[in-house]
Assembly symmetry: C2
Homo-oligomer: 578 residues x 2
């Protein structure tokens, strides 16, 4: 993790690469590193698909170590979806592997002439860049299968499906999980389109012959990691709810809270929720020989993932996440888990953000293209994306474009990015995050559901305006820092409630790097990252007027609580007053 | 012209209307009135298709009088295309008729529940609003024909085609010409979608029983009008070039100047230009029994319009304008006037902005959907819009959406609106207007071609950066004022060169209203309008970062002059320093 690999895909005579010491970027990892490089090196007003944009792929500060939960990979660029800066992160194996190979970041720069498609192979001996047009318009599963045939099943892959190749704005970048399935995604913001614009289909990583990263103080590190893991196991969310039911444990909770967006954000409760809840899902997975408790990367101790089989015991997809079950489920009036799992698979294979794509289908339903609840119709629409039909391209361009093309007013996006599975009127803290995050509408950027609904880190009434700005601000700062460590954001549940777990994270960082960070330093890191992201957005033309929810959230009440989003613009403008 | 008609399409129990004296808006007309009302009454962050938006339709200050050239109609709203304020104006009869009926403005407000389609009939006896679902998904020509059958051929119509009904962002509003053809359009900014969102298909105007508006000082008015007309007849552009060849006289001129955008703005000269020039077009029209010299409204003395017949003498369309011939012609590598005229007809009938639609097709060609030069392919694509297919909806959503859906980087838009027929690298004054006009890329907002290429109002070298900011600023100010009078913007050619023609315009305004405007007052009016438009845009979230051309214009040279757009951001930010 002491070097940066730059690959110029637009070099004269074909792609060229160069490695350099991390140098000026030392001390940064994950989102901190991707956002710093993008903010410094990408012209804010460039076209996201132009040679001026860069795709920065960075493991976190603790990735590749023995630290539990350290397998998140940050991917940054100027977003084709929002027009602002983007960091989208993913689980799976690549972060650990890339870190063990010694890379703090891989940066794709430039843009090739012509339409050749490339694959990049990286192992301990170096980098090989090859034209491989046999990969054209393959889905992620087929791409990975081909790479495994050639390089063995120990590899980790970072790849795009047809959506990224077509440079669609809702396209994701897939990361393989521990079973080598391209089922973990940097989903948001169209990062796949930027990879596609660079002409890169897949980056194959092989860490054979490398070893785990060694801390400067191994004893202290080991001890801290133990305390850290104990904390995660002890906390109700990370030790019980998530392992047992996965993230989809939230369906019943949000539905009960009246914050479950239904029928394209018309209502806050879905009659079919219990049929698609995490409890139902886990029982079904168990019955069918799937796995309800499963980690997406080496070192995960929460294991919120799973494997979803069909009734005959054959793999359909990884266990769909709560936001996916919602986007393709309740948001579209669909209550059939098998159909939802199939849509999850199609999204993963085509390389699509499940949130933006599900919301896009909900808007198409609002426009009357198909009816709410028509799961077969939704599957048919989704399949069009991979075929590159006009309808498929519309859907793959995300919710905002679907709204525009079909003349729909009710389009739940901020900065062009679709809102996830929490109604901002009934979970107001998250509404503040949606509005103000430099990433566009993003639940992970400051997950106020924790404190609004789950009563983690205290309690702020989700239906009242009071306290939400402070809550979102603090969570956004903490998240920006966590996203720099390579740690899964779910550790935050334990961090918020258990001081010793937070201290253990600091101790691991200090023991690994031989430094002396305290809580204030971590907060300062988060603030610095947010400020430079916001500054990039300002220079790209996004101002506080884009820190707003669509007007209908202020004007139309959502049942059952009949609330609107009543946090004023002036209050929203206070989120970044640090 | 002393009353304002407000029609609330969303009223309980069905649309309701109310008339009120012009009151606080007295002294304003055309763009001055539409922009003032929009800026004051429309929430800048509302969704353009929501009930909060308003469609303001206003004749100019001199419309309905005997003043020559006073037939422009201004249509204002928040734009679905740019997200900012919009004034789009049109020739044809409705402005004169509406003014004679006494309306300074008709304002469509609210939004009906359900999907009924309405028509509005206005004559001297009042207003009738009727559900007429028989008009659904008809083209403009069929709509007008039905209205003429019912109300006679003396009516003037303001209508939308299928594109506006589908609320597509490149949809126009049609105005009938002197022959009752819906061939004059408020083309830009998606105003048709706003009319569609209000559920209004057509406004039928009948001024039977009304009389021409009487000036306070008839003698002075008559004398001034005579001097005004003499000036227009004396000037080379308005007295010779435009009457003889129409606006398409510009094809050879811009091509010669190397500023004719070809193959989606890749080159500045088109090999097939002479085959689609105004000279060729006028000769063909004459040979086929069409009309090369024709006014679009009562009182036009320039008569830049015409009638384009097929080889058997049957009407294809009105004489396509220069920008249309370019958008569907050279920009797409098409050099067949008959095919271009057919596309002009399809645009008019479907209710589409020819500029945004032509540029959209050029981008689709760049993406490889069809080949450059494939006129039959372009016609097929265009026909899809009226059918409402996914491909048709993509194209009808304008150039920016097409670029996004097809992952194209070379997308010549500003604020989401497609650039017209002048390459901003080779006609740099117009580049400044494209970048900075509150309307988005719009040639009419400050037509620097006049001074850059036609040497009207002096000369500023089109290939050099010097002087362009001052040129564009002055033209934008003057245009905002002219757009308030109801006068065709083409009078500016004579105004810029002939002081007595400009004075005659002032004299007409003064004689009509019994006031005492001077040149400074007119400039102040223009400045006031621009400022309030720009303020609306700021409040809507458009800032100086949106006052930029796409990066490729700065980075890629255009042949034959091999120039880039080299006016700095700092200089662009000086346009509005008044």
């Amino acid at each position: 993790m002491d070097k940066i690999l730059r690959i110029n895909m637009g070099a004269q005579g074909g792609p060229k690469f160069a490695e350099a010491p991390i140098g000026e970027f030392a001390g940064l990892g994950g989102r901190g590193l991707t956002s710093t490089i993008v903010a410094r090196e990408v012209p804010p007003t460039c076209h996201p698909l132009s040679q001026e944009n860069k795709l920065v792929i960075a493991p976190g500060l603790l990735s590749g170590t023995t630290a539990a939960m350290s397998g998140r990979l940050s991917i940054g660029c100027k977003s084709p979806l929002t027009g602002g800066i983007k960091e989208s992160n993913s689980g799976g194996q690549p972060s650990q592997v890339l870190a063990r190979l010694g890379y703090a970041a891989v940066i794709l720069e430039g843009k090739p002439e012509g339409d050749d498609l490339y694959r990049i192979f990286i192992n301990k001996d170096g980098v090989t860049i090859t034209v491989d047009n046999s990969l054209k318009m393959l889905g992620n599963y087929a791409v990975v299968e081909k790479m495994q045939k050639e390089f063995g099943d120990k590899i980790a892959c970072i790849s795009i499906g047809q959506a990224g190749e077509m440079k669609l704005a809702a396209s994701s970048i897939a990361c393989t999980d521990m079973e080598g399935r391209p089922a973990r995604h940097a989903g948001r913001g169209g990062v796949g389109a930027v990879m596609g614009s660079k002409g890169v289909k897949v980056i194959v990583l092989d860490d054979t012959g490398t070893s785990v990263r060694q801390p400067k103080d191994p004893d202290k590190f080991r001890e801290a990691n133990k305390i850290f893991v104990d904390g995660l196991r002890k906390h109700g969310v990370t030790g019980e709810a998530l392992p047992a039911y996965g993230t989809n444990v939230l369906t019943n909770i949000l539905n009960e809270a009246g914050g479950y967006p239904t029928y394209n954000f018309r209502e806050g409760r879905f009659a079919g929720a219990s049929k698609i809840s995490g409890e139902t899902q886990a029982a079904l997975e168990f019955d069918r020989g799937g796995v309800p408790t499963h980690g997406c990367h080496r070192g995960c101790v929460i294991r919120c993932s799973g494997i979803y089989n069909d009734k005959d015991g054959h793999y359909i997809s990884k266990q769909p996440e709560y936001e996916t079950v919602w986007a393709h489920g309740g948001n579209c009036g669909i209550d059939d888990l098998d159909k939802i799992a199939l849509m999850d698979f199609i999204d993963d294979d085509t390389g699509l953000d499940t949130i933006d794509t599900g919301v896009a289908i909900g808007i198409a339903m609002e426009a009357g293209v198909i009816k709410y609840g028509d799961s077969d119709g939704a599957i048919s629409l989704l399949k069009e994306v991979g075929k590159g039909t006009p309808m498929g391209r519309i859907l793959g361009s995300g919710a905002a474009v679907v709204g525009k093309v079909f003349g729909v007013e009710r389009v739940p996006v901020v900065k062009g990015q679709a809102m996830p599975a929490y109604d901002p009127r009934a979970v107001k803290g998250l509404g503040v995050t949606y509005a103000t995050s430099p990433m566009g509408a993003d639940h992970t950027a400051g997950y106020a559901t924790a404190t609004n609904i789950l009563k983690v880190g205290g309690y702020v009434d989700p239906l009242k305006a009071q306290g939400q700005v402070d809550l979102s601000r603090n969570l956004q700062i903490a998240t920006a820092a966590i996203d720099s460590t390579g740690m899964c954001v779910f550790i935050a549940f334990a961090l918020l409630d258990l001081p010793e777990t937070f201290q253990a994270l600091l101790d691991m960082l200090n023991a690994h790097y031989g430094i002396n960070l305290n809580a204030d330093n971590v907060a300062d890191l988060g603030k610095t990252i947010l400020k430079l992201e916001r500054d990039f957005n300002n220079r790209a033309g996004l101002t506080k007027e884009q820190d707003r929810l669509p007007a209908f959230f202020k004007l139309q009440q959502v049942p059952p609580h009949d609330v609107t989003f009543d946090i004023t613009d002036e209050e929203l403008d206070q989120v970044f007053n640090f």
